[in-house]
């Protein structure tokens, strides 16, 4: 019996030892985890701006001038597809993001989710922006401006002109005919592609409705049958450049301009039925704690200098929205962008479809079904 108190002393000291050991190892672990990575921190706290953007904004040639002029660090995260952006935003805390670049047709979605802050109308060079891409219906709501168009281009037909008959490329229905069976790549983004199919069927992108889905589904399936692959940007480019395919449906200057030097045989056109026009908008996040700086960044991006750099940024080239960007572009750059042909292209092209949530779901399902065939 006399052992018992001893035993207790023993156990409690053991407990102490155990606790110490556990704490020590836990502390070691947490220190290791906490200080995990000696991330280089600037010597003095510099102001930072967090922007959720498309990949063309990550070019240092575009960002560095702004960083230097304002003594800030711009943190950039690039994404693909509005859904991905919304995922990222949902997985963030309010105030994490200051600037958002988003598909022009999805600005209203972002406004509906109360993500974007109002931009004072006089802060933007609206008068300098190509009238066709001002897109008031998209960028404004109830007379308030929430975003501004910064860059645009086309989802149309890219092809190898030495391997196909360029005349065939003027007819959009070629994309589901047997003539180029196995030589076609489809760009993997359902919205412009369904828009193109609609155009091929003689429907305006803005008027696509539930009733058109059966016909579209049928053509998607026909298109899949004659295609070689459905692919993202790099696979599409690889396929075109290596001769894996000769036609890319959904491509345009943004996919072939960068290759034009090496592969002069690659060309693109807007078919007679028309094609789809994409546009990206930029806005300030409503929850941002740095509204002024964020607006400054937006203003820089839509300024003539910023626009010229954005148009020729490393990820992809495309037309700047600001007409005055032309003053800062070389003639060679303007030729590659087909600056002088824009009036005609703008006339012949239509914006992405803007489906309701329900129709959007149907379109996505139709696209997924097509890929699984």
């Amino acid at each position: 019996m006399s052992v018992k108190p001893e035993g207790n002393v023993m156990t409690s000291s053991m407990k102490g030892a155990f606790a110490r050991r556990f704490l020590a190892s836990a502390a070691a672990t947490s220190i290791a985890a906490g200080s995990f990575f000696p991330v280089a921190t600037p010597a003095f706290a510099q102001e930072e701006l967090n922007a959720l953007v498309w990949c063309d904004h990550t070019d240092p040639a575009l960002i560095e001038p702004f960083e230097k002029a304002n003594d800030v660090k711009v943190n950039l995260k690039d994404y693909e597809g509005t859904g991905a952006a919304l995922s990222i935003l949902e997985q963030s805390q309010p105030g994490d993001w200051d600037v958002l670049v988003i598909d022009g047709v999805d600005v209203q979605r972002a406004v509906g989710l109360d993500l974007l802050a109002e931009i004072p109308a006089d802060a933007l060079p609206t008068a300098d922006i190509f009238p066709e891409v001002r897109m008031e219906a998209n960028n404004t709501k109830d007379g308030k401006t929430y975003a501004v168009t910064e860059k645009f281009g086309y989802n149309t037909i890219s092809y190898d002109k030495t391997k196909v008959d360029p005349k065939d490329m003027q007819d959009l229905t070629m994309i589901w005919s047997d003539k180029y069976k196995g030589r076609i790549a489809l760009y993997d983004y359902y919205l412009p592609m369904i828009g193109l199919v609609g155009l091929g069927l003689g429907k305006k992108t803005a008027e696509l409705s539930d009733a058109d889905m059966p016909a579209i589904t049928e053509k998607l399936s026909a298109m899949k049958k004659v295609s070689k692959q459905v692919s993202d940007v790099v696979s599409s480019q690889t396929a075109l450049a290596t001769g894996e395919v000769d036609i890319l449906v959904g491509g345009g200057e943004w996919i072939t301009a960068a290759l034009s030097g090496e592969k002069p045989n690659l060309d693109w056109t807007v078919p007679d039925q028309g094609a789809v026009r994409w546009a990206q908008s930029i806005g300030v996040m409503k929850a941002s704690k740095k509204q002024d700086l964020a607006l400054k960044f937006v203003q820089y991006i839509v300024s003539p200098e910023g626009q010229a750099r954005l148009a020729t940024s490393s990820c992809y080239w495309a037309m700047p929205a600001n007409t005055k960007a032309g003053d800062h572009l070389t003639d060679a750059q303007k030729t590659a962008l087909r600056w002088n042909d824009q009036a005609e292209y703008l006339k012949k092209t239509q914006l992405y479809p803007i489906p309701s949530a329900e129709l959007d779901q149907k379109m996505q399902d139709a696209w997924t079904d097509m890929m699984q065939q």
Binding site: G7, M10, E90, K228, T238, A239, G243, T368, D369, Q372
Partner: protein, 286 residues
């Protein structure tokens, strides 16, 4: 006293195992439970609604494209697993048995080396190798084995090749590790009993290395069925596997509940595979 000593030993032991357990609980078990909960919610008009229901799971069975994703995943994973075992076993055996002891590590390092090039780049490199004008087709055509370039890229063949490339390395390692642990006594005993080399191999060596095979095969199954990069780069989107569909839910719809539900389904497939191989997967101490 011996009781207390044992107890004190136990406490120490708890101290050693606690950090690993805590890490696993906090960063694996808890997240997993979160996912299960989320898979029972749904996403409606841009927000996650925390109403408990099985809609996401029902949708999986109702929408053919989603269900087919699982079928594709299983088919590809099984092909890859079998192919990798069949290719890796002889290599592991050659390294363990035919390569002189002092060169064995070198041979293993050689087998692992290509995997230091970064997975994403490697997949993309296969795309260039397998394309119509790629090295393989150019060689075959120059040699005259084929007249027309083979359709190797942007389809299931490409995905399987890309996967098999990776898993042959993994399986070579696990099978090799098992082979060298075998005592030469087994072989001697088998020979004493009159078995020839093939019989010894088939009836003694293979069964004894079954744990290594199954461990590697199971690891292959898990990693392969959950991979997104290889099918995304090499498959040409001519068919979608389940991880691609899960990423689509995130990338196109921001639909976390649906992604969670599909993930749970993916996990059930893995669990099934686990149950099938469980008897070989015991972690034994040497």
């Amino acid at each position: 006293m011996s009781m207390t000593l044992e107890q004190s030993e136990q406490r120490k032991a708890w101290g050693f195992v606690a950090p690993a357990l805590a890490w696993t609980l906090a960063f694996f078990v808890v997240p997993f439970l979160f996912m299960v909960a989320m898979s029972l919610w749904s996403r409606q008009s841009g927000a996650i609604v925390r109403a408990w229901n099985l809609d996401n799971y029902l949708a999986f069975f109702e929408k053919a494209a989603l269900f087919k994703g699982l079928v594709n995943s299983l088919e590809i994973t099984l092909i890859v697993t079998v192919l990798s075992v069949v290719l890796a076993y002889p290599l592991a055996w050659i390294i363990a048995e035919r390569v002189p002891k002092r060169f064995q590590r070198m041979a293993l390092i050689m087998a692992v080396l290509p995997f230091w090039t970064s997975y994403v780049v490697r997949s993309y490199s296969w795309l260039l190798v397998l394309s119509k004008n790629g090295v393989v087709n150019q060689t075959l055509m120059t040699v005259g084995l084929v007249g027309e370039p083979l359709e190797l890229a942007s389809n299931r063949t490409a995905t399987v090749i890309g996967f098999t490339h990776f898993f042959v390395m993994l399986l070579t390692l696990t099978i090799y590790a098992n082979l060298i642990q075998l005592s030469p006594n087994y072989r001697r005993a088998a020979a004493d009993l009159g078995a020839n080399a093939f019989e010894t191999f088939w009836h003694v060596i293979v069964p004894l290395t079954l744990p290594g095979i199954m461990t590697g095969a199971f690891l292959t199954f898990v990693l392969c069925i959950g991979d997104y990069v290889t099918p995304q780069i090499l498959g040409g989107n001519n068919e979608l596997v389940l991880p691609q569909i899960i990423m689509l839910q995130l990338g196109r719809r921001a639909d976390f509940p649906m992604a969670a539900a599909l993930s749970i389904i993916l996990m059930l497939a893995v669990t099934l595979a686990y149950v099938l191989c469980a008897r070989w997967l015991k972690i034994e101490r040497a």
